[in-house]
Amino acid sequence: MSCAPCWQDILPGTITLGASSRSVETGLWRSVRPILDAGKCVSCLRCWVQCPDSSIQTCDGGTVQGIDMFFCKGCGICAAVCPVGAISIRPESDFLEETGPSGGVNPVKVGELVGQC
């Protein structure tokens, strides 16, 4: 009978790579999608400071560039806090033929595929 491994031999349950969750596409949860109208946006950054998922993209100097669809879960807070109405909310079903940021299918389509199994 072989000996049980000593505790030193057991791999620790430690995650050594910080911010590794950045490879997780939480955008697949989305049922509605925020659309930024760059012409109306005044880069007041209210959406940036309020976004729970850090999905508002800015460039150097703090100008709003767009919304990261890889992470955006579609909560709609950005549209609610926008003082100039530059962000509108549309259902994901309007974008069925688009592929997701990681090349996957639209989240609504994923739901349909699951239903077919």
């Binding site: 349950g13 995650i15 790579l17 910080g18 911010a19 590794s20 969750s21 950045r22 490879s23 997780v24 596409e25 939480t26 949860w29 989305r30 950054l45 940036w48 400071v49 309020q50 976004c51 729970p52 998922d53 850090s54 999905s55 800015t58 150097d60 100097g61 703090g62 990261d68 890889f70 992470f71 879960k73 579609g74 909560c75 709609g76 807070i77 549209a79 609610a80 806090v81 909310i89």
Partner: protein
């Protein structure tokens, strides 16, 4: 934004990274993101069990860009004391540089109820750390049970409104005042109504030597039964109705940081949330509870302003 240069902050990576698995429209990641915007120095984060902890550390992923330690529900206060003390001791031997900030966070379950003893001990011992409570007024991680922070009349899965009881029967405890009673240098209470208020309070908390406690009211869309997009609106109602007074206690001196120009009735705050819907479906019979909520808020405000300096 009120003395905070948000434009400058966009150039910095937040210690809380993207890809965490908190619900859409949850207030907790917003609160922590904004809190870290107020901290310029390197941080070490200790997290009590709770929604934010489990959703940011789904093995093998981590949403933390900084050293992060998860401990159980009941000992975030003890763990952050140990981490701070160890750094201090190793700093004396030249093994660590100075200027590292220690931040512990917990939900209201891990702070008001289960972790209160270790938090109280840590506050009393006077370690140099900041404890942030993201308070969504119940145990959301396990399915919306009542906690010591759940307000009167709110319907939760363990205080369900029905034929026998009209939601929770007891008042929420006032943890901010319990923390202030430890005579620590800095205690503050805020919500997501105004990011600059939250950022400035956390900045002051981490810059204050010794223990500091910040209690942040955050909505849980599932428990409060609100539209996730209404997060900021509901927090403004909490501040404007004085349901959640926005104030700080620095070196024993209370200061109201936000006085609503024209306070809105607490009824507006309650009506906006599904967890109080039983008060309004049978309004004629439940008027007493709505009035009771207003009376609770008025009494708390009276007590607070009696002790506080007005806004300067």
């Amino acid at each position: 934004m009120g003395g905070v240069n948000v434009r400058e902050l966009t150039g910095r990576n937040n210690p809380l990274a993207e890809g965490h698995r908190m619900c859409p429209g949850c207030g907790a990641p917003t609160a922590l993101r904004q809190a870290f915007m107020g901290i310029d120095d390197p941080v070490v984060v200790v997290g009590a069990t709770g929604c934010l902890e489990v959703s940011t550390t789904v093995y093998p992923y981590s949403s933390w860009r900084v050293p992060f330690m998860h401990v159980a529900f009941e000992n975030a206060g003890a763990a952050v004391s140990g981490v701070a003390a160890a750094h201090k001791a190793m700093g004396r031997r030249g093994l660590f540089r100075d200027g590292i900030k220690f931040v512990a966070f917990g939900g209201d379950g891990g702070t008001y109820d289960i972790g209160l003893q270790s938090l109280s001990g840590a506050l009393e011992r006077g370690h140099d750390f900041t404890y942030i409570c993201y308070n969504n007024q119940g145990y959301m991680n396990t399915g919306a049970q009542r906690s010591g922070a759940t307000p009167r009349s709110a319907s939760s899965t363990t205080s369900p409104a029905g034929r026998l009881i009209p939601g929770k029967l007891q008042r929420a405890k006032n943890l901010t005042e319990i923390a202030a009673a430890h005579d620590i240098p800095y205690v503050a209470q805020t919500t997501l109504h105004d990011p600059s208020d939250l950022i400035k309070k956390v900045r002051r908390a981490v810059e204050t030597p010794g223990p500091a406690f910040v209690n942040i009211l955050v909505p849980c869309a599932l428990f409060w039964k609100i539209d996730p997009a209404d997060q900021v609106k509901i927090c403004r109602l909490a501040a404007d109705s004085r349901f959640w007074p926005i104030y700080e206690v620095a070196n024993g001196e209370r200061r109201i940081s936000y006085t609503p120009k024209k306070p809105v009735p607490v009824e507006d705050f309650l009506r906006a949330q599904g967890r109080y819907s039983h008060l309004f479906t049978d309004e004629a019979n439940r008027r007493d509870l709505i009035d009771q909520a207003q009376a609770d808020v008025d009494a708390e405000w009276e007590k607070l302003t009696g002790n506080a300096k007005p806004q300067s």
